[in-house]
């Protein structure tokens, strides 16, 4: 089984026969990127079509003088998604930047000139592929409209209770884990703070998650791993982790 067999399940290549798919595979190059790495930038000359095999990628617009953040994300691409159709349309520049947001992203990169040569030889292949890319562009257009009409995200404050008793129980490691998670997501509506003892020393380390419009909740006996879970599933995902609660609705 070839590394490129997944291409048969990729939307951009639906409608192609086995022979046409083999021709495309001949122009594929596998690449790997790490979390936070950008593999093309908004405004750069677009010379490749990209297909994601593993991992997740954010497509973001850049704001001058500002670091990239999830706030600027227009859409998120996952396995089997195709990126870089700008390489086929004037002015042949990427409209958005692509950032790897998982530990690794494995991608196939195909040179535009290689594909254009295939289209010349086989216009039916060109018609199918370009029509599929138009559908992808249409989906991005719809996502952009939706992202602009969505309500702004609620403000979140995560307080790590860092009194001497908390630090002795491991609150510093919890704070470091949360700082790491926050940096990774780049979410500017999430704030991290340190606070005093909750008065429940046997339950340390504690963290309080306060989401705008909802009652704050306190988690107990946090570790770095548990804190990451709370961040991912409650702060980002909106689902309170009831098995880790000290007591619901107790600030």
């Amino acid at each position: 089984m070839s590394d490129l067999d997944f291409l048969k399940d990729v939307d951009s290549f639906q409608g192609l026969n086995a022979e046409q798919l083999e021709q495309i595979k001949a122009g594929c190059r596998m690449l790997e990127y790490q979390v936070g790495e950008r593999f093309f930038a908004e405004g750069e000359t677009a010379e490749h079509l990209w297909v994601l095999q593993e991992g997740k990628t954010d497509l973001r617009f850049e704001l001058p003088g500002r670091p990239t953040s999830e706030e600027n994300t227009i859409s998120t691409a996952g396995a089997n998604d195709t990126l870089g159709y700008s390489s086929f349309v004037p002015p042949y520049r990427y409209k958005l930047s692509a950032y790897c947001t998982t530990r690794t992203c494995r991608l196939v990169r195909i040179e535009k000139t290689f594909l254009l040569n295939l289209f010349e030889q086989d216009p039916q292949l060109g018609f199918v592929l370009v029509s599929n890319l138009a559908s992808i562009a249409s989906a991005h257009f719809k996502q952009l409209q939706r992202s602009a009409t969505d309500a702004p995200p609620a403000t979140v404050t995560i307080t790590v209770h860092m009194a001497t008793c908390g630090i002795a129980a491991g609150a510093r490691e919890v704070m470091l884990a949360l700082t790491d998670e926050l940096a990774r997501t780049g979410r500017q509506e999430i704030h991290l703070a340190s606070g005093g003892c909750t008065g429940n020393c046997p339950s340390h380390p504690n963290i309080t998650v306060a989401i705008e419009g909802a009652e704050p909740v306190v988690y107990q006996k946090m570790t770095a791993e548990k804190a990451r879970r709370v961040f991912e599933r409650h702060v980002v995902g909106g689902e309170v982790q009831t098995d880790l609660l000290l007591a619901p609705s107790t600030p």
Binding site: L63, Y85, Q124, F127, A134, S135, A137, F141, L144, Q145
Partner: protein, 160 residues
């Protein structure tokens, strides 16, 4: 009847042979409009690819409460400019609204089902036209992205 000379000037159909242009012509009809006439609304099921023949048409993003979308046009289209690409691209729903913007005007309506039938029999036409449709979507995306980036930029600046 719309002339082949005009159809050839439309970017989406440029580069086609006379036979291919004739096939496209057989799918075309004309319609007049006046200022303020709705040609289609966002969310409608599209049956035509449209081209301005005379006058001006505005494309409007209707999302309430969003800068650039409250009845303001994101694109002003003059003669030979195509619009209504959703007729050829799934999920086949108009994403913007089109309104007559000149006192009087005329549009060419190209039957989308007829065009798709041509693509089936002649992949060269399909490849050339759909490549231009992809470029058209990209252009509209840029115009919309400008509006969204401006709005987000304002939001961020206001938080400083």
């Amino acid at each position: 009847m719309i002339s082949l000379d005009f159809i050839e000037k439309v970017d989406v159909f440029s580069g086609l042979s006379d036979d291919q242009l004739n096939a496209v012509q057989s799918c075309c009809e004309e319609a007049d409009f006046r200022r303020g006439d709705s040609l289609f609304k966002a969310g409608d099921e599209p049956r035509h690819l449209w081209v301005v023949v005379e006058g001006q048409v505005d494309l409007i993003w209707d999302a309430p409460g969003v800068a650039g979308s409250s009845g303001e046009s994101i694109s002003q289209l003059g003669p030979a400019m195509p619009f209504g690409w959703s007729s050829l691209v799934p999920p086949n729903t108009y994403r913007l609204s089109a309104v007559g913007a000149s006192r009087t005007g005329r549009v060419m309506k190209v039957d989308a089902a007829g065009l798709r039938a041509i693509f089936e029999t002649d992949a060269v036409v399909g490849y050339k036209v759909m490549s231009k449709v992809l470029a058209l979507i990209s252009t509209r995306f840029y115009q919309l992205q400008d509006e969204v980036a401006r709005r987000r930029g304002h939001d961020i600046i206001n938080q400083w």
